[in-house]
């Protein structure tokens, strides 16, 4: 299976190679930092004309994850849209695509720093969501337990016989999991950065995304 199993606050979770988190007991799929509409925002804000295919690509990957897991609940952990105007400006076809993904599922948009308020798209809009032993929110808070968050776009870099591989990653310790960014046009913050090193306990593990998700001690 293309997923790495781990336990957080008693919940059996799976870190998927795609960067999505799956909770089989709840049939729940969680993705973070989709940044839909990023290319549109870049054009509007700085006059860049990046290839306008990022939203379609992100949705296609989400579509595939949903088809495989058959999740009934979807939590988008914030920064789902690059900003509110980007959400409004989504082409009709992409809005329809989102509605199709939402059909027959419980869908929660958690607020992020890029998309703080409610959007005119279906689904519930929440600041955060407690569920069983876990709490889903955009930015991790020190001192919390059973926390699932995103925001930092963590990536990890490891050396293999003189070569380095850098990939988006999950960061996991006994208090929290931080998800990698799921969006196509997203960069990453190295796990060795101060912000992430301060949040994660010394035994933290990084799960590298890719064809097969791989755990390593979190590179610091």
């Amino acid at each position: 299976m293309n997923a790495h199993a781990f336990t957080l606050a008693g919940a059996e979770l799976q870190a998927r190679g795609s960067g999505a988190l799956f909770w089989p007991a709840q049939n729940l799929l969680c993705v973070s930092d989709l940044h839909l509409g990023k290319s549109e925002r870049m054009a509007r804000r700085v006059g860049a004309t990046l290839p306008p295919y990022d939203t379609a690509e992100t949705l296609a990957r989400l579509d595939a994850d949903l088809a495989e897991t058959r999740a009934e609940t979807v939590i988008c952990l914030g920064d789902s849209f690059d900003d509110r105007e980007a959400a409004h400006a989504l082409p009709h076809s992409e809005k329809i695509w989102i509605s199709r993904l939402q059909a027959g599922r419980r869908w929660v948009w958690i607020a992020g720093n890029h998309d703080p308020g409610p959007l005119d798209l279906g689904g519930a809009h929440l600041a955060e969501l407690p569920r069983g032993p876990l709490t889903f929110r955009h930015v991790a808070r020190p001192g919390q337990a059973g926390e699932v968050s995103g925001h930092y776009h963590p990536k990890a870099r490891i050396s293999l016989r003189g070569r380095t591989i850098s990939r988006p990653c999950f960061l996991i310790d006994d208090a929290r999991v931080i998800l990698p960014a799921y969006g196509t046009y997203t960069g990453g913050l190295r796990s060795s950065s101060e912000a992430l090193a301060a949040l994660m306990c010394p035994e933290a593990v990084a799960i590298l995304t890719g064809p097969s998700p791989r755990p390593v001690p979190m590179p610091r």
Binding site: R44, P91, G162, E203, L208
Partner: protein, 805 residues
């Protein structure tokens, strides 16, 4: 000859000089629309370029800019300014001269635009920037002459393409403009003349007396060069002897890393403390300027350098050039040799130092070619479209334009003389809308068509476009500083910095330092006394050994014996012939052997670095498909070495030229070289912005790699303009498929695969080559699985990665 105006004639007479014949020729042809002067360094070339300007300014007053001088080096512009100011003062001419580059202060730049000097000395990039201002027509309206110095160097790069486009714009602003090019000796002056002149105008070609033939030879050493490596440490005592015997010696290296190692070893052996300096592009500006100043004062006996001293600066009293490492290209060798003895009638003196035994062969071949005056060169092909896209954006910054007028203007630029309207329209569409199959940016177009004229939708975009002007690709460099003292030593590539662990040692600026850590975007180091450091792998520019030189080498290897070669090299070639086989003209040798825990395949194609690189890419792709788990490869000019997890028993299976050709398209899609090319193309065309260190610092998460854009375009818009440009670029430069075809033609399936127990004498140098290209595929996943399991075990975590709670 034309009569010199009195102040200039008096100046010559007062010194007992008369103009050189080529200087007189330049005066006589001053009204020609385009003139190319071929002259050796030190032949009064620069004065020849400026004499007509001085004559015109002495004869009649001129309002505003008269002559624009363009040089590839900022330092050269500043240097020329100094050298020109004194004769102008001595002639009492009322001529204002100023220089302009990225280093010029804002105040001075503004003053130059408001009230231009008579003569402005600048670079192609600063000229492009000047042309992007709406007041460009006013600045350039009275321009009479433009002088392009070192045009042979510019003509080989996109900087030249940008310059020739700028000239087409200048000519439109100043129709009476005359063009002058100053060039070193080249194989095909007519090709450069065609770039310089307004197409299809003719161009006058003048050649100065080349002076006496240079004296070139091999450096005699007591010790033999090593089997492999590029340090040439063995030659240090002999090089020191030569330095002692001459006033000033330039010691050229092909790469910065090699220059660093050599300089380090030279210091260790320099018991009598001869003053020796180092100069290359990775050193901080302060360090370079210190060395340049010392050289001008004549304080240095030798300077270890790279291509950073290939051009321009006529400084110091250099009487010997030493080339360390095979020169790769006979033309460049001849130009480097010309750096010695700038006095006109003295022969240049040069010595070649092969860094390893293979290079002994290559140096001998190069020596023969240089003596025979057999210069190599390859045509560059039509002007690249990414540079054209940037030119269109620059044009838009200056004000509205019509597509028709811009198109006809561009056709007058030599490299773009054959541009099709279709390609031009595609570039314009890219600049305006991004040019995607999915028309997504109707609201946010960069350029809008209003009343038949193209213009910026948002004029504020101009400042972003201006910040991105230029075609030079800086790889992402990090500053290296001594911890605590904050003194910058130079720069290293980010990829190199990332491979360092605290405690690792490397060379920079001739000293060994220990890596302490990465602080923000600075590499912090402390001094270290180690003698054998980990080597800094700076990427110096690498050129492919020319076809002509490769053919000479193959012919040489085919000999029964090599009486002209030193014994050590002779013995080595005989040893290779004994344990394996020597490459022969008309056959392709493949060696397969295990080494250091991996399987290796070495192919001696002699097709030049770029084609060998392509061969590496194509073959690793086929090996990946057949499950041989290749991990990477490295190419030199004569061979490609591939390593992986499984051995290859018959290379012929992999080398079918038809399969290689068929695989080319699919292959071009997903590899590291393409992504590297795409990044350069996308930056030049203006799709992505050059990353300023500040931007990287503030928004690490917000920025993402250009590889993602490449992958997205490949999937959703594979025929996009920039993908086409990237492909064309790779085919022409990095791919060089024509030389693979030539290889196939020359060997016609005569492929000998030898399975050997260990690395062979001829393959050994490749193990130490820099520029290894990793192959992402099943080997990645296999290694990642091993390594992650090992790390988890070491950390005491269980195999499933479960955290012991």
């Amino acid at each position: 000859m034309h009569v010199l105006p009195a102040p200039i004639a008096k100046w010559f007479a007062a010194r007992g000089w008369s103009p050189h014949p080529h200087q007189a020729d330049m005066l006589a042809r001053a009204s020609d629309p385009a003139t190319l002067l071929i002259a050796p360094t030190g032949g009064g070339k620069t004065l020849a370029g400026f004499l007509p300007t001085l004559a015109e300014l002495a004869q009649a007053p001129h309002k505003g800019l008269h002559t624009l001088y363009i040089s590839p080096l900022k330092a050269l512009a500043a240097d020329i300014k100094r050298n020109l100011l004194s004769p102008v003062e001595e002639m009492s001419l009322a001529v204002r001269i100023d220089d302009r580059s990225g280093d010029t202060t804002q105040t001075r730049k503004k003053a130059q635009r408001a009230d231009p000097p008579h003569i402005l000395l600048t670079t192609p990039e600063s000229l492009a920037l000047l042309l992007s201002y709406p007041d460009a027509p006013r600045i350039f309206q009275g321009l009479q002459r433009v002088i392009v110095d070192e045009i042979h160097a510019l003509a080989e790069s996109k900087r030249g393409d940008q310059l020739f486009l700028a000239l087409s714009r200048l000519q439109a602003l100043a129709p009476g403009l005359r063009r002058v090019g100053l060039s070193a000796t080249v194989d095909d002056p007519a090709a450069i003349a065609a770039l310089l002149a307004r197409h299809p105008d003719p161009c006058t070609i003048l050649a100065a007396d080349p002076g006496p033939a240079p004296q070139i030879g091999m450096l005699e050493t007591t010790e033999a060069p090593p089997w492999s490596g590029g340090g040439a440490a063995y030659a240090i005592p002999a090089v020191l002897d030569e330095v002692r015997r001459h006033r000033t010696t330039l010691i050229f290296h092909n790469t910065r890393a090699q220059a660093e190692i050599f300089f380090h070893n030279l210091w260790l052996a320099n018991d009598e403390g001869l003053p020796v300096g180092i100069h290359h592009g990775s050193l901080s500006r302060e360090s370079r300027e210190r060395v340049e100043a010392a050289m001008v004062r004549g304080d240095l006996r030798a300077i270890v350098c790279t291509g950073s001293l290939d051009l321009g600066l006529d400084w110091g009293d250099v009487d010997l050039v030493i080339q360390v490492g095979a020169p790769k290209n006979v033309k460049r060798l001849v130009q480097r040799i010309g750096r010695a003895n700038h006095r006109y009638n003295a022969p240049s003196k040069a010595l070649l130092v092969p860094a390893n035994r293979f290079e002994v062969v290559e140096c001998h071949a190069a020596l023969e070619a240089a003596r025979a005056g057999d210069l190599d060169g390859a045509p560059r092909g039509p002007g690249p479209l990414d540079v054209l896209c940037q030119h269109i954006l620059i044009r838009a910054c200056a004000g509205p334009f019509t597509a028709d007028s811009l198109f006809s203007e561009i056709l007058t630029a030599g490299p773009y003389a054959t541009l099709s309207r279709e390609d031009f329209d595609a570039c314009l569409d890219f600049a305006a809308t991004g040019g995607y199959a999915l028309r997504a940016y109707d609201r946010w177009q960069r350029l809008m068509l209003r009343d038949g004229q193209w213009q910026l939708r948002d004029p504020r975009a101009a400042s972003r476009i201006r910040m991105n002007i230029g075609t030079i690709q800086d790889s992402e460099l990090l500053k290296v500083r001594l911890r605590g003292r904050g003194k910058p030593l130079g720069e290293v590539e980010e990829g190199f910095a990332a491979s360092l662990s605290p405690g690792d040692t490397f060379l920079i600026g001739g000293r060994v330092v220990r890596f302490d850590g990465l602080r923000e975007l600075t590499v912090e180091v402390s001094p270290h006394a180690a003698k054998s450091p980990k080597i800094a792998v700076f990427s110096g520019t690498k050129f492919a050994t020319s076809t002509q030189l490769c053919q000479r080498i193959l012919a040489m290897l085919g000999q029964e014996d090599w009486p002209d070669l030193p014994d050590h090299t002779r013995d080595w070639l005989h040893l290779q012939r004994k344990v394996s086989r020597l490459p022969e003209p008309g056959r392709l040798l493949a060696e397969s052997f295990p080494h250091d825990g991996r399987e290796h395949l070495c192919l001696y194609g002699f097709a030049g670095r770029n084609a060998q690189q392509t061969l590496g890419l194509l073959l690793t792709k086929r090996m990946e498909e057949t499950g041989l788990a290749p991990m990477g490869f490295v190419s030199t000019d004569y061979a490609t070495l591939i390593w992986g997890l499984d051995p290859v028993h018959d290379a012929a299976d992999l080398l079918d030229i038809n399969a290689l050709r068929d695989g080319l398209d699919g292959w071009l899609a997903g590899n590291a070289v393409m992504k590297r090319s795409f990044r350069a193309v996308a930056t030049i065309a203006g799709l992505i912005e050059r990353m300023s260190p500040g931007a990287r610092k503030s928004g690490r998460q917000a920025t993402f790699s250009s590889d993602i854009l490449y992958d997205t375009l490949l999937k959703y818009d594979p025929d996009h303009l920039l993908m086409r440009v990237t492909r064309a670029e790779a085919m022409r430069g990095l791919v060089d498929f024509a030389r693979i075809e030539e290889l196939a033609d020359r060997t016609r399936g005569r492929i000998d695969t030898l399975r050997l127990p260990r690395v062979t004498p001829l393959a050994a140098p490749l193990l130490l080559e820099a520029g290894r290209v990793p192959v992402s595929g099943s080997a990645d996943e296999r290694l990642l699985a091993e390594e992650t399991a090992r790390l988890m075990k070491q950390a005491g975590l269980d195999q499933n990665g479960k955290i012991p709670l």
